[in-house]
Symmetry: C2
Subunit: 328 residues, 2 copies
Amino acid sequence: MATLKDVAKASGLTVGTVSRVLNNRGYISDKTREKVYQVMKELNYQPNETARALSKQKSNTIGVILPNIEHPYFAKVLSRLEREAAKQGYRIMLFVSRYKEEREEQCIEMCKSERVTGVVLCSGSFETEKFEDLDFPLITLERSMDEGTSGIECDNYQGGVLATELLIEKGCRKLMFIGGVSAGVDIHMPGDLREVAFRDICKNRNEENVVMVTDNRLFDSLEYYEYVRQALVDNPDVDGVFASSDVIGAYVLQACADLGIKVPEQLKIVGFDDVNIAQFTSPGLTTIHQPVEQMAELAVAAIAQIDEGKVVPTKTVFPVTLVERGTT
Amino acid sequence: MATLKDVAKASGLTVGTVSRVLNNRGYISDKTREKVYQVMKELNYQPNETARALSKQKSNTIGVILPNIEHPYFAKVLSRLEREAAKQGYRIMLFVSRYKEEREEQCIEMCKSERVTGVVLCSGSFETEKFEDLDFPLITLERSMDEGTSGIECDNYQGGVLATELLIEKGCRKLMFIGGVSAGVDIHMPGDLREVAFRDICKNRNEENVVMVTDNRLFDSLEYYEYVRQALVDNPDVDGVFASSDVIGAYVLQACADLGIKVPEQLKIVGFDDVNIAQFTSPGLTTIHQPVEQMAELAVAAIAQIDEGKVVPTKTVFPVTLVERGTT
């Protein structure tokens, strides 16, 4: 494998000059630059990113920790983070926590030993002490509010208001909320505000006209179809469902097909997130759009800014919008 | 930041002894080991993976290059690769090529400069010259057959046979194939064999009973609903569709809902891949199951084996199975 020395020797220049070309530092004539590039190509020289990382104690790498890649929401988040990171010259090192606290801590440890420039930590619901004393910025996305350097979230409360008001406006009389975590006792995550908003909008309604279905296993709901189906069987007079994610919304739609409930005629559904699955269902799922692209862009930008010594907001909340499709 | 020297000093041991504990090399008493771990914890010492990578010229990192994270097939592949890599002590560095040849070449260049242990390159359809003279193993997944160190694929031909024969067995008289790339001229990718098998099984049928719909844009079909819908409008007597992916199958199902075609009564559908989207549709999509988990496991194992100087197969083909759901 060719080294910097080999390139210097073959181009008749000093190692220092070649290094200046590589790092784009100081004055270098176009002729010299071209000469070096040509020799690098001839010798198939690869600048060693590992050595560079060591010398500057950083790796130009962003660690991304998320609970599950196959969930369409996280796939979308990861996709947008990668795109933005590539634009800004960062690599993505990927860690999947599988909703396990222990594994999440391991991921953070690995990020430390990899000397990452920063970490983007996506939702999950663990406690925060382990994330203190980090020597890199920790950007949280839709995650517990108090941890990390900078938290980025969408306006979950407003989304809950829009979804619930739409169902009422469309004439639904008995409303059901189906969600991943119960916000009955504490608010652990920004997403819990979807449920809080639903409760607030419904608080002047008779109790018998509101059904709450919450289960924290539903947060990763790829396997909870049966749970959703039973909720519909148990509450045959429900005519409007606010599902706290599009994945749950898709299950509601599927359960309706199985049970012979016509959507939107007999029952209306609003999801949350606006991921591709909302377009794959028949009819398409009305949902609350999270601006994931902008959220991911800001997450990467925040890491770059902190790396340059700049200050970033502690918390940023993005607006959501209602996207009406066939289920309402 | 604490160094190895600091740990040695604080624990009253030599740097060599601390290094042996860290690398789990040679005899170390339990007492010494515990002492070192305790001091490391007190000093918040992090072994520097970057320095380790430099000393051994490898980074314990596997580069994964895929065209699109949001496509459910690639999300599943990435998820399984990450799981297997974590088990074997590798990190995943993620690169997305966005179906662009130039970007794919950049990804390979970045993998070179990161000194990865190996690369897993997922499907795509570019030419191969750029992948010669790599100094790391290149494992291809469902990708052109001749490139890379080791190719892993599923038995696409057998899958095509199973899908087509099922439609015929269920009484379909006019069959349609909807696929991402045309294998009419050349076979570029293993997945093209799905179409070849369909043609072979149909070759004794009257031509007017077979419709081929192929478009290479459909390969990344998240946006081609309208294209699929038009194919159904143009061919109202088709009663059996073999879609070359579950994503395309989901679009066929959605188009049927829009056009008032009853599935499976009037039209039957078989997809390919068996990704989660096949379970989200109503009715669930009959499909050909690719053993992605085993394919990903083998990809990571192959990189580990080559790293240890072992020889791995040039090509490995995994069997597929038919999964019957509601669309047939």
